[in-house]
């Protein structure tokens, strides 16, 4: 019998439930193997303690040695750590790279600050929505490219959408009120609205043919504002 077979049968052996022949083999091995004999002794003590004392007072004899063996057994099952050196995590930069990065950040921050201050103190009289790509500054083009700012076309479309939404709101109010107007008022309103609608139509057509026509974009914006104001002015009557 070897150690493995002996340790497998040790618990049953202590319980006295092994066949006589196997029990004899275990006993023989225990006399020859000190390690198995010690393990058998520990098992026997544990069994005895469990049978005689309450669990709260279980203190194995020579507990330090028992824990040492358990610890050794666990460490034996764990694979030893690889001796290969792990590659170092993270980036390594040269002094030149770090310097360039710092300089770049400083430059961008300065530019943004200058542009911000300029826009704050000197608001442009020109409406961005009425501008074309041709009149965009390089900085604005970069912002448009990276998606931070609208392109002039996008800005115009967004503005038109807002204006149309406002026009729709005021138009509903006008429709609710116009029955109360006299004929003179109604005729004047219709005539002016028609004039503005024709203007809007003209500029829309021009812009379809030439989306970069700054002036038509500006005039369309102005005409839509006029329409909104006309509707708003008459809605309060």
């Amino acid at each position: 019998m070897n150690c493995e077979e002996c340790q497998e049968n040790l618990s049953v052996y202590l319980d006295g439930e092994l066949d006589e022949s196997v029990s004899m083999s275990v006993r023989t091995h225990l006399t020859l193997c000190m390690e198995c004999a010690k393990l058998c002794e520990d098992f026997a003590v544990i069994l005895d303690t469990c049978q005689t004392e309450p669990p709260s007072e279980i203190i194995p004899p020579n507990s330090q040695a028992l824990w040492c063996r358990i610890s050794n057994s666990i460490e034996g099952d764990i694979k030893p750590p690889s001796v290969e050196e792990k590659p170092q995590q993270g980036w390594r930069f040269s002094f030149l790279q770090v310097g360039s990065a710092v300089l770049g950040i400083a430059l961008i921050s300065s530019l943004l600050t200058v542009v911000g201050i300029k826009n704050y103190f000197e608001p442009s009289g020109e409406d961005f929505t009425s501008r074309s790509a041709a009149t965009q500054t390089t900085f604005e083009k970069i912002l448009s490219k990276v998606g931070i700012a609208d392109t002039p076309y996008e800005a115009r479309m967004r503005r038109m959408k807002e204006q149309e939404s406002a026009i729709s709101y005021w138009d509903k109010r006008v429709q609710a009120q116009r029955a109360k107007w006299d004929n003179k008022m109604r005729d004047a309103f219709d005539r002016n609205l028609n004039e503005i609608n024709q203007t809007v139509k003209e500029y829309t057509m021009i812009l379809q043919q030439n989306p970069d026509d700054d002036l038509s974009g500006e005039m369309l914006d102005s005409a839509l504002n006029d329409k909104m104001n006309l509707l708003r002015d008459f809605s309060e009557l």
Binding site: D182, M185, A188, F189, N192, L215, D226, N229, D233
Partner: protein, 257 residues
Amino acid sequence: MIFNAVNNARFIFEGKTTILLLLSVVFFFAPTEASAQKKFSKSYPASQNVRLQLLNRSGTVTVEGWDRQEVSISAYLETPAANVAPQSLSGTIYINLVKDNQGRGDVGSVNFTIRVPYDSKVDIETKVGNLNVSNVRGGFVRAHISSDGDITLSNIASGVVSAQNGIGNIFFDGEIQSGGNYRFTSMRGDINLRVPSNSAFRLVATAPSTRSINLGSFSGGNMRFVGDGRRVVGQFGDGSATMTVTNQRGTIAFIRR
């Protein structure tokens, strides 16, 4: 025979009586029709730099500067139902016919003639009708017509002038003050600006539909046409004032004063 003659005479007499009665009825009601136009008058003592703020519905508004420190308001109401209730608050005379007659269809036109001190600020607005302002040199003059109507601003010496209408003409005759701001906007009509030849202003004049921008004696120098002749931009003199003129479907002309 005699009977017939008497009858005829009686018929003629009765006919004449009928005509006379009808005429008397006509003459009786005719003055009544004329006097249906109600008049409203009120005066307010004016402080220095008094401000007039008027919002009319329909009708002609005439504002004239005069040498008295009072504001005189005369209103001619087309229908007696119209309510005119001016208010004087903190140096401003408010007249708001829209608010005072909200939701009413029987208001009709109201024609105003208002006299204000020369130094007054004038802010007048109407939905339909003409606006006239003359002899005013206060801080600003604003005349706004929502739809149809002509604007006439004559003998104006204000630093800020704004005139806007829908369909109608705009005429300005006045000074361009240093550092001032002048804006004239129309949808369709003629914009005529009569200013002194020594005026100094930066100009953006746009007439995209007609491309009719006549600079008169102000042409040349730094003025240049842009956008295929739809706009003129430039500077006259030292360019200390700003002038923006936009006429969507009409003409623009400058006249030397």
